[in-house]
Amino acid sequence: MTQLLIFNVVNGLIIGAFYALMALGLSLILNLSGVINFAHGGFLAIGGYIAYTLVPYFGFWGALVLAPILTAFIGILIERVLIRRLYGRDPLYSLLLTFGLAFMIEDGTRFIWGAQSLPFQIPEWLAAPLSNELFFLTGYRVFMMVLVAAVVLALFLILSRSRLGLRIRAGTLDLETVSVLGVNVRVLRNLNFGLGIYLAGLAGVLAVGMLGLQPNIGDSLIMPSFIAIIVGGLGSLPGTLLGGILIGVASGITTVFFPSASEAVIYVMMAAVLIVRPRGLLGEEGRF
């Protein structure tokens, strides 16, 4: 029983890490640009497929480094051409646009790489379990958790220490003033979008190592990411991180006792948060 519980808590932590990675990217874009990026799951799929294409040339590690960067470039390009035009207009339009993009990306990946699911090889020594007792704890899972933790730490360091991060945080609070102070807001939003998409691409590479490749791989991750943001509190990145891990672990624990309710518990948590504390766990009051 305890082993089952540990297994599912660890599982929940891993899933939670994915939710958090996705949700942090979504949150970055939402906070600075007011855009809900529906195509985020699509970018995750792109990251995974690019990694799949790169592995024969650069190996797993090369793909892990390169694929998220390439995904981020695609994101930056799309922001330049399409999404930028909608800033300052009703959020309805950017929602519809990214919604259409999500359709196009899913169908596009299916067109290029095929509808059938593809295998993704991870290094053998990572795929092996660490010990006999905790057979479910493969090296890959531990590696994923460590990597996600490192990336999240790096993200928060960038946001709190670097000039770019300072500007992103300031822009989140008052974009107009930042613009008046001489910061090129267009470039800032562009880079910020790229940063968010980088996280989606990275989540994509890690996810396909565990789940394999499918054109709709992002579908199952995007809704929980929205909920992570709602639970954690809009406008707060630490809240988003907390929200992602919380719902991941909660659904993991629920799997032990009521397997069929593991999805539902996420929504129950969202409803509870909205009733008790509409702004979310760490959200600022009066922001939305």
Binding site: L30, G34, I36, L82, R85, L86, R89, D90, P91, L92, Y93, L95, L96, L97, F99, G100, L101, A102, F103, M104, E106, D107, G108, F111, M223, F226, I227, I229, I230, L234, S260, E263, A264, Y267, M270, A271, L274, I275, P278, F288
Partner: protein, 316 residues
């Protein structure tokens, strides 16, 4: 003069709708497509009651549409083989769900509201998807069909006669459109417009804004679930895709495409969208890409919609 124009336009729309089964085949359509347009138009008009006339963006209306559909289908399959009862049940299920979820989200605004409606919408998708012993899961709810309506002295055979079903859908559509039009002309409707135009000012005037948004939300979801019941009856089938988020997006794009500040906009948007989808899906396998592209193009080049464009032309 303007008023006369408006009446003439209304009369024209009703005439076209009433005679549709007769002229549709002449231009290469078919009656079922007409019924589908009516049903989607009803759902999009219901959404527009909230979006266009209250100024609140819901991206989760498919949930209530789908609840209506499942309510109707399950009534016929498990309870009693009666079409009117199925419609009633579906509407009640959808409306009650909306009324219960409403208080949790009406305090939120803008993107936050939209995001929560999406997330709540997915709850019902998961229920329909996973509770397969009752809902049929991914395969959908099959092995049932709509029933002829028994009026005592005569019975309307909506099962085998496509035209009869079209007129049933049109009757429901007319009732819903009439009620929504009447509500929008009433003081209640004017209050909703005031909230849309300037929420803060409306609040200062002593209008209970949250309660009005809740009422508008419930009315909107009620008619969306009515459309859902008709959707299930039209197809004699319902599956979880009826309540997935892409369905919600379809309603929104129809509304925007037709023109969201106008009453009839969603009808025009629904007609254009469905005819296009009908054509695309019979010509190419990658029609999803084209639909996605269509979303992008509408947003970039056509944000005011067809009727918005016409209105602008005539006022110039």
């Amino acid at each position: 003069m303007y008023r006369l124009d408006k009446r003439a336009a209304d009369a024209m729309i009703w005439l076209l709708l009433l005679s549709a089964p007769f002229w549709l085949p002449l231009i290469g359509g078919y009656t079922e497509l007409g019924s589908r347009v009516l049903i989607y138009a009803l759902a999009a008009m219901a959404l527009n009651f909230l979006l266009g006339f209250t100024g609140v963006l819901s991206f989760g209306h498919a949930a209530y549409f789908g609840l209506g559909a499942y309510g109707a289908a399950m009534t016929i399959k498990y309870l009693a083989p009666s079409t009117p009862l199925a419609i009633l049940d579906g509407v009640v299920v959808g409306t009650v769900a909306a009324a219960l979820i409403g208080p949790m989200i009406v305090r939120l605004r803008g993107v936050y509201f939209a995001m929560c409606t999406i997330a709540f919408g997915q709850v019902f998708f998961f229920i329909a998807f996973q509770w397969s012993s009752v809902t049929g899961g991914d395969d959908g709810l099959t092995a049932w069909h709509r029933m002829p309506i028994d009026l005592g002295f005569t019975s309307i055979d909506i099962l085998n006669d496509n035209k009869s079903f079209y007129y049933l859908a049109l009757a429901m559509f007319a009732v819903a459109a009439g009620v929504m039009g009447w509500l929008l002309r009433s003081p209640f409707g004017r209050t909703l417009l005031a909230i849309r135009e300037n929420e803060r000012r409306a609040r200062f005037l002593g209008i209970p804004v949250d309660r009005h948004i809740w009422m508008s939300w419930v009315i909107s979801c009620c008619f969306a679930s009515l459309a859902g019941t008709l959707y299930a009856l039209l197809n004699d089938f319902v599956d979880p895709r009826a309540l997935r988020w892409d369905q919600s997006g379809t309603f929104v794009i129809m509304t925007v495409l037709g023109g969201m500040r106008s009453f009839w906009g969603p009808l025009i948007g629904a007609a254009i969208f469905l005819v296009l989808q009908d054509q695309l899906s019979s010509h190419t396998q990658n029609w999803e890409s084209f639909i996605g592209l269509f979303f992008v193009l509408v947003v970039l080049f056509f944000p005011r919609g067809v009727l918005g464009l016409i209105k602008r032309k005539t006022t110039q």
